[in-house]
């Protein structure tokens, strides 16, 4: 709006005689205004309520693909660990929602607005609460940095993202264009995020776990465990396809962590509480 006014006032203030617009001036002006509008739209961000609504739709799709594990004590436990981690971040008051999916696949998912899910198959390969915290904190980081929203903006539905940001699509009320965005958001799980986003989530995840008082080496320990699973195991196929190689992730963390997190190494991993909580069914 402001830029539109600016261009209009610029044209008005120019001495008319200086330009031979040849009758095409108006068309060019319209074009210029449209370009400016487009740039504005592309840069607009969806609001936090819109982000939460969109994320809820994506989370609902995920739960359509794999059900929630019917184990209330474990669901509650994972929510406690996750919420405590989220409190250490720059977005402590999102409606954070964590869950364990009843699936043997080894994977974890985040959706915009504070939704984080891990599979039972991944949980089964963890040894303590610090490892759980490391994985949840990696997913929390995707939400903090809005990685999925960025992927949507860059993808085939970027115009719909602009429309959502500009309130041309309401995030509630069943607009079919919103369902298209939700589908596109779900498809990101099949395609994967940007590699750099995964590295960033690793870097942030170990710090969030350390802030929360956990042994920061939980996340690298899980990644190392996954390295020991036969790479042909179909339970890992999608996780491997959508993430950078485990060896690369580990060596990047190794260099950074030994420099900066050395004084957080003695923090607890709460193996006992983890075992007790998971056996409580």
């Amino acid at each position: 709006m402001r830029a539109q006014l600016f261009i209009a006032s610029l044209l008005v203030s120019l001495p008319v005689a200086a330009f031979d617009l040849g009758g095409l001036g108006n068309i060019d002006l319209e074009k210029a205004v449209k370009v400016v509008q487009k740039v504005q739209k592309a840069n607009a961000d969806v609001s936090e309520p819109q982000e939460i609504d969109l994320g809820g739709g994506i989370a609902s799709n995920l739960l359509g693909a794999a059900p929630l594990w019917d184990n209330p004590p474990v669901q509650r436990y994972v929510n406690k660990v996750g919420r405590w981690l989220a409190l250490q971040t720059e977005r402590p008051d999102l409606p954070w929602q964590f869950g364990v999916l009843d699936d043997n696949d080894v994977n974890a998912f985040a959706a915009p607005g504070g939704y984080v899910f891990i599979t039972k198959g991944l949980l089964a390969r963890m040894n303590n609460e610090a490892e759980l915290a490391g994985v949840l904190a990696h997913e929390i980081s995707h939400v903090l940095r809005k990685h999925h929203l960025q992927a949507l903006k860059k993808g085939a539905r970027s115009e719909l993202m602009s429309d959502l940001a500009n309130d041309a699509i309401k995030s509630q009320g069943g607009d079919p264009r919103l369902s298209k965005l939700v589908s596109a958001g779900t498809e990101i799980y099949a395609r994967g995020l940007d590699k750099q986003d995964e590295y960033e989530a690793d870097r942030m995840g170990v710090v969030i776990a350390a802030r929360a008082g956990y042994d920061p080496y939980g996340l690298p320990a899980v990644l190392q465990t996954l390295q020991s699973i036969n790479p042909n195991d179909s339970n890992l196929a999608l996780m491997f396809k959508t993430h950078p190689a485990l060896g690369d992730r580990l060596s990047l963390l190794d260099g950074l962590m030994s420099e900066s997190l050395a004084d957080r190494e003695g923090q607890p991993d709460l193996a006992a509480r983890f075992a007790a909580q998971l056996g409580a069914k």
Partner: protein, 164 residues
């Protein structure tokens, strides 16, 4: 009483999770007497030395190299992929009913539900399940109480920058 018993049983299982895994060094590594950088060096291990994993403690892993036991940096190791497609059991997978036989690479995932690429692309919303999930959400004060119970103390730690 019952709960106590099952707890200690599980603890036993869980704490042995890393034990017995085969691993090898991915670079030249010092085998230390204790899990500290300035601890006595027992041996220098060249790259690709085979070791047996005993346990992990933060950034250190206790291993047995030949007849010598000691500590190496965890990330100087790579665990061997186990022949069955699964690492040694952490004891919880049986509890969770996770397929113990290890699905081979040839298994084709079929059916409507599941987390394969195709299934995610065709996922249908389940708002009911989402509402059910919300029941388990935890408030700020509950989370703080939980942290206190575990004696978890929060600290200021800056995010790590760069990397690549």
């Amino acid at each position: 009483m019952m709960k106590r018993l099952s707890l200690s049983l599980l603890l036993l299982v869980a704490s042995s999770a890393w034990a017995g895994d085969a691993a090898y060094t991915i670079r030249a590594t010092e085998l230390k007497a204790k899990p500290y950088g300035d601890a006595q060096t027992l041996r220098s291990l060249p790259p690709r030395t085979k070791v047996e994993v005993l346990k992990r403690q933060s950034s250190w892993t206790q291993v047995k190299a030949g007849t010598t036991s000691g500590w190496v940096k965890m990330l100087s190791l790579q665990l061997e992929a186990s022949a069955t497609g699964r690492r040694s059991d952490n004891g919880l997978s049986a509890l969770f009913n996770v397929a113990a036989t290890g699905r081979g690479g040839s298994t084709v995932t079929t059916g409507v539900r599941g987390l394969s690429e195709e299934q995610l692309k065709n996922a249908q919303p389940n708002p009911q399940a989402l509402r059910a999930a919300k029941k388990y959400a935890v408030s700020r004060s509950e989370a703080e109480r939980f942290a206190e119970e575990g004696q978890l103390q929060s600290h200021d730690v800056d995010y790590l920058s760069g990397g690549r």
